[in-house]
Every structure is written in C-alpha cells, then in structure tokens.
Amino acid sequence: MEKEAKDRIVRNVLLSIIIYTLPILLMFLYFYITGQKPWIK
C-alpha cells in the first residue's frame, strides 16, 4: 500500500471521528438552546 494512500486514510479517519461525534454534539447543543432535558423521564 502506497504511503500517500495510507496517509490519506489516516487523515480521513481522523475527520470521520469528528463526524461521528457531530450529531451527538449538535443534539446536546439543541437541547441546551431549547432547554429540553428528554433524558429526565
């Protein structure tokens, strides 16, 4: 496997980790802004 391809995979994986966290962060930001606490039943 070429080094260039390997480096690109590593870079893209790091970006993917951010993308995985993004919906969670946005969801809690939305709860914070709207004052919702749906986890409290």
């Binding site: 993308i19 993004l22 986890w39």
Partner: protein, 317 residues
C-alpha cells in the same frame, strides 16, 4: 398517515425489500438490461449470494442483538430510548452509512482485503441480480450491521426502521440498471436538483462508475465513489468522481468467470482459473487488462466535475 408510513417501513424491512428487488429485477431482465452476460455461473453466484446469507448472517445478527449484547451489556438495553426520533434518525444514518463507507473503501484500498470484495465487482452487469452479490466473509463481517444492531439494542430501533429502509432503497436503486437519474441530467431545468442529488446520495451514474471495468478513463472510477446511501462522504474525503455519464462496460477487466462457489466462499474454495486473484497462489491484486473503454454513445451534458480534482484519486487497487 404516520401509521401508514410506519407500516410501509415495517413491511419494507421484512418482505417489502425482497419483493421490490424481485419486481425491479424482473423488469430489468425483461428489458434485457443484463445484456448477454448473465450466464449460468453468474446466475448461480447471484442466487447463492442473495439466498444463503439469509440463512447464515441473519441468524448471526439476530444472535448478536438478542443474546450476545444482553450478556455483555445487560444494563444498557434501551438506555438511549429518550433520544428524539429526528436525532436518532440522524445518528443511525451517519453511523451506519459512514461505517459502511469505510468498510467498503478499505476493501478497495487495502490490498489483502480486496479479494473479499472482488465478488461484488466481478459482475459484468448492473442490476438487482448483483446488488447483494458478495463473498460470504464480506457479508458476515459487514461492520455497520453490528453497529446499527447495537444502536437498536440501546433504544434507537424505531428511527433505525426508517433509516435502514431509506438506505436500502437508495443502495438498491444505485445498483439498478434502470438509470432513473438520467432525466435529471437531460433536462436543463432539473440541473440544480441533479447537482444536489448527485452530491447527496448514490445514483446510478456515480455508482455505476464505481463498477466500471476500467478506471480513470473519464467515466469509470472503481478507485472511488465508495458511498452507499450517501455520496457526500466521497465529496468530503476526495474520493468522488461525478461525470453524469455511464460506463460502457462493467466488472473486472481480467475476469474469466471464476466458479460461483469459489467467488462466494473464497478462501475456503479457490478458483481454478489460472492467474485469478482467487486461485491458489494467485496475485492479491491483479493489474488491469488495459483496454480503453469508450464512453457511452449517449451525449454527455456535463463533463467531469471540476470540484473533484483528478489528483485526489487513489492509485492502488
């Protein structure tokens, strides 16, 4: 209305998708969209890949979700069921499809993984017949299936029902030999919609390019366009090629019809085709047979998207 939509997706996830696949498949076959490539070996392989995983992987995934997870995470069941539908839907869509993007991409970019995915690419045609065509090992280790099953166990079952249903339709239709996206490129007033659609989800144009038997010819691009439900992963990671054209031929340039059982069950069974990637002692990745493919005779209204630089293309098979 909600009940109706819910019923549609519930049925889609049980018998609906199989019925839809059959109907579209019959339509494709009736109109000769498989060409003359669908011989006995290909039929047996497609049929085995469609039917047998249902007897192996589905029970395995059911065991994972219903028996294994309750043992290792006994207190975690439904702990995330408070997440509102919208956010659950977004989470499932991203987690499932981004994971599949990586599973798919790595099978193309890591040479020793390629042979587990080769079966999907050896089909010299597109359509419902080959949409599920995979080596059994590739199917068993479908990483996103287990991740989504975990999320369902944690309480996101309801949004998963819809996310998986929509994803299944998009991926099936991207593999279809019915070029449903063509009107979007032909009618100028639809171009703004085409611009959005082709960057958001997998379409026949972009996914057929991924299944072309040549790459870097201006249309075929098996070194990229890895997205399944969403195409924007390819846009984001620089693995996209948008041409609004369809390859003239599909498959693997050096494919010589390895026996169906070798393609389905490699490495348990090996191919008897000398020099095949699936033969005993065969190369891990075989170089392309260089035959310049002509682009479709159909006029292209738009050439390669300049937003996707050629130098971002991957260079190993």
């Amino acid at each position: 209305m909600t009940n109706f939509i819910e019923a549609v997706f519930t049925n889609l996830n049980t018998w609906g998708l199989a019925a839809l696949t059959l109907i579209i498949g019959v339509f494709e076959f009736s109109f000769g969209l498989y060409g003359k490539h669908w011989n006995r070996n290909e039929k047996l392989l497609d049929l085995a890949c469609y039917a047998l995983p249902r007897l192996v992987t589905r029970p395995l995934v059911a065991y994972f979700g219903l028996k294994f997870l309750p043992i290792i995470l006994p207190d975690a069941k439904d702990t995330l069921d408070w997440i509102p539908f919208f956010w659950g839907f977004v989470i499932i869509c991203i987690y499932d499809d981004l994971t599949q993007y990586w599973y798919h991409r790595l099978h193309h970019e890591v040479p020793w993984l390629w042979r587990f995915h080769r079966t999907h690419h050896s089909a010299p045609y597109m359509g419902m017949a080959m949409a599920s065509r995979q080596n059994i090992i590739y199917t068993i280790f479908f990483s996103q299936t287990y991740l989504t099953t975990l999320l369902v166990y944690l309480g996101l079952g309801y949004p998963a029902l819809f996310a998986k249903g929509i994803k299944s339709i998009i991926t099936k239709m991207a593999h279809s030999s019915i070029k449903w996206d063509k009107p979007l490129y032909e009618k100028k007033w639809l171009h703004p919609l085409a611009w959005v659609v082709e960057r958001t989800i997998s379409t026949p144009a972009t996914h057929h390019a991924h299944h072309a038997d040549v790459t870097d010819d201006g249309v075929g691009y098996y070194k990229g366009n890895f997205g399944n439900m969403f195409f924007f992963w390819d846009m984001l990671f620089g693995t996209a090629l948008i041409t609004r054209q369809y390859p003239k031929s599909y498959g693997i340039s050096h494919y010589e019809g390895d026996a169906w059982y070798a393609q389905f069950l490699w490495p348990i069974f090996k191919s008897k085709v000398p020099g095949s990637e699936l033969a005993a002692g065969g190369p891990m990745v075989r170089e392309d047979v260089v035959v310049r493919s002509e682009v479709s005779a159909e006029p292209a209204e738009e050439q390669i998207d300049p937003a996707v630089p050629v130098n971002l293309r991957i260079t190993n098979g």
